[in-house]
């Protein structure tokens, strides 16, 4: 038997992260984390990415996690470092993204004394983490790391914080290091395999439905269930809609795809949900942006709800059949049973339903003619920008986004055929997410096209990361849909507040984004005319090894439609400024 390695707490942490398979850490140093930073310096297995703001570190780790499915890892110091990370932790929490955040803490004997840069990170982060650990005994670092990754990545994923007082990582205290093979948490046991009885009931409903809709969300992506979903619908041939978080889990170019549903969902998706007789909810949680008024939601539908999280089922909309388990496993079980009953199913019975949907689609579908208007009398339309980007990148890029109108245009007009390619802050709606998230994606996929569709408001919330992009040579493409306003806020003010634009415009105070990009060492391109749009975008995407910031001035008056009318059903939508259903 060889003798065990003796290491300091900081070195154990690095060894544990390496043994866990971590390749990248996004972080920012400071006093309480300096022992750890020294351990980082003395190893060469894990790369540390120095961001420019801790919020950027969390979003970058988040983008890495969403695009790869692997947990993102963040390292910050105590006090302000920890609090700066909170927005990104909350963003990951609300979208169920696996992340492990390591925060330095003041030395154990100083805890509770209002020491320099002391903050109760466990307390501050508690409502926005799946779980958290404070290290009280350095011996436990390997076990805690193992558990943290297990909790973050299993069941319904989420962020886990490990708070480490400085003395736990001191260089002089050595411990025998061994990384546990398995996390063993007796009080944690998320469901994996579904209950046979529920599978049988679900299949019976599926076989008998006349107007079924598959409604799949981020949980289906988290569970890597794209093949199962596709196979399920080869059998059922039902219309499919995705939530904002679920885009890509079913190919957007498939003829059964209805588009996104909800607040800014397509007319046909919302109409189909409202008029369905069976809703097959897969890793989706009936968020208020989906249901509109729950009491008016889809009055004639039975609901089968597949989810790994008990508390997500029958929270907003009562499920008739609940199937708990990893949705990948649950769908496999459904498919297996369905395949024995194919003789009981006739796809043709859905034909009237498909005809109805086709009608809806042709009466109020999204407008794909917009980008054909290249005359310079008309302002550039934001939708046209996204359509050009979609065409130039052949729909294959990783697209991150921020929050606002540009985000909704991106979701509506960039059609994702694969999961994990659409990266946006769905539930938190965190402005500032897009650029750092794109960095995380680019680190994971250096050879893929990664672009960020943003707005002039959002991009300024984490603009400092342009500096990180230069340091690590990240040739991201930033498409700034510049409407010179907090457009989504302004749209609500137009619709609900008599057009009173309270604090949603900037009075000519925007920076020159071209010069700004250049001063960060990147390329900037400004576009103001329809006739220049396509060629400017093509030029940007042709510069493979440079970060290009394309600042596109668009029509500031444009609104996002369709838009659900608040407190009504999914059938009640604004279709344009002067037309509703």
């Amino acid at each position: 038997m060889g003798t065990k390695l003796k290491l300091s707490g900081a070195d154990m942490l690095m060894h544990a992260l390496h043994d866990e398979g971590v390749e990248l850490i996004f972080g920012y140093p400071g006093g309480a984390a300096l022992h750890i930073y020294d351990a980082i310096f003395r190893q060469d297995k894990i790369e540390h990415i120095l961001v420019r703001h801790e919020q950027g570190a969390t979003h970058a780790a988040d983008g890495y996690a969403r695009s790869t499915g692997k947990p993102g890892v963040v390292l910050v110091t105590s006090g302000p470092g920890a609090t700066n990370a909170i927005t990104g932790i909350a963003t990951a929490f609300m979208d169920s993204i696996p992340m492990v955040v390591i925060s330095g803490q003041v030395a154990s004997h100083l805890i509770g004394t209002d020491a320099f840069q002391e903050t109760d990170m466990i307390g501050i982060s508690r409502p926005v983490v799946k779980h958290s650990y404070c290290v009280f005994d350095a011996n436990e670092i390997p076990k805690i790391v193992k558990e943290a990754f297990h909790v973050a990545t299993s069941g319904r994923p989420g962020p886990v914080v490990i708070d480490i007082p400085k003395d736990m990582t001191a260089p002089d205290n050595l411990f025998e290091y061994e990384y546990p093979k398995k996390a063993n948490i007796r009080s944690y046991n998320p469901p994996v395999e579904p209950d046979d009885n529920q599978i049988e009931r679900a299949v019976t409903e599926m076989l008998n439905a006349k107007r079924p809709v598959i409604y799949a969300g981020g949980g289906a992506i988290a569970s890597n269930a794209e093949e199962e979903l596709f196979r399920l619908n080869e059998i059922l041939d039902a219309p499919v809609t995705n939530t904002l978080m679920g885009l890509g889990i079913y190919p957007a170019t498939h003829h059964r795809f209805l588009g996104m549903l909800g607040m800014h969902g397509t007319y046909q998706a919302n109409m189909a949900m409202h008029n369905a007789d069976l809703i097959i909810a897969i890793g989706a949680r009936f968020d208020d942006r989906i249901t509109n008024n729950p009491s008016k939601f889809s009055p004639g539908a039975k609901v089968i709800h597949f989810d790994v999280d008990h508390s997500s089922v029958s929270k907003i909309i009562e499920a008739n059949i609940a199937v708990f388990g990893q949705v990948k496993n649950s769908l496999s079980a459904i498919i297996k049973l369905l395949e024995t009953k194919l003789d009981q199913y006739n796809k043709d019975t859905l034909q009237p339903w498909h005809d109805q949907i086709k009608n809806w689609k042709s009466s109020h579908g999204l407008n794909y003619e917009l980008y054909k208007d290249e005359s310079d009398e008309n302002p550039i339309l934001p939708q046209a920008v996204v359509q050009h980007v979609y065409n130039i990148t052949e729909g294959k890029a990783y697209v991150t986004s921020d929050v606002g109108q540009h985000q909704m245009f991106a979701a509506q007009y960039y059609h994702f055929d694969e999961p994990r390619k659409w990266i946006n802050s769905g539930s938190m709606g965190t402005m500032g997410f897009g650029l750092p998230a794109a960095m995380g994606v680019k680190f994971a996929f250096p050879d893929e096209e990664v672009l960020c569709i943003t707005g002039e408001g959002s991009i300024q919330m984490c603009i400092q990361e342009l500096s990180t992009c230069l340091q690590y040579n990240l040739p991201i493409k930033i498409i700034n849909i510049n409407n010179e306003a907090l457009g989504m806020v302004k749209q609500w003010q137009d619709m609900n507040y008599g057009g009173r634009h309270s604090q949603s415009t900037y009075q000519n105070s925007l920076p020159d984004f071209v010069k700004l990009a250049e001063s960060y060492g990147h390329v900037g391109i400004k576009v103001e005319k329809n006739s220049e749009l396509k060629s400017a975008l093509e030029k940007a995407f042709s510069m493979k090894d440079r970060l290009v910031f394309v600042d596109v001035y668009v029509d500031p008056a444009e609104h996002v439609y369709p838009m659900l009318i608040a407190n009504h059903s999914l059938e009640d939508m604004w279709l344009s400024k002067d037309k509703k259903t």
């Binding site: 307390g123 508690r126 958290s132 007796r186 944690y188 046991n189 508390s311 929270k315």
Partner: protein, 109 residues
């Protein structure tokens, strides 16, 4: 709204109680009263030990009782949310017990 009693068996770990209390606040559930004790007699919880294939040791778990005013429809949601907390081993109301992934049809705590 009816007054209901919830019983929890949870790991006696730092911060575990705060997570329970915090959850009530965060989700807008109210707490009428709350009581915590360390558990030293494990005989009533043999079924948990069997189900989780574990052996409780001294000072390892505590028992928490909470009185809360809730509607019926919220009750199940509260149980499920509590059950989701990593440090909570089991939670019950008058009719049901959630023992991690398992739902049992009576109050066993």
């Amino acid at each position: 709204m009816i007054k209901r009693k919830l019983t929890l068996i949870m790991e006696n770990k730092p911060g575990a109680l705060v997570r329970v209390v915090g959850l009530f606040h965060q989700r807008g559930y109210n707490i009428e009263s709350l009581h915590v004790d360390p558990v030293d007699d494990f005989t009533p919880y043999k079924f948990i030990e069997e189900q989780l294939e574990t052996k409780f040791k001294e000072n390892e778990i505590s028992r928490l009782t909470i009185q809360t005013l809730v509607s019926d429809s919220l009750m199940r949601q509260i149980l499920r949310q509590l059950n989701k907390l990593i440090d909570v081993i089991a939670v019950s109301n008058e009719e049901t017990t959630y023992l991690k992934g398992v739902l049992l049809d009576e109050n066993l705590l």
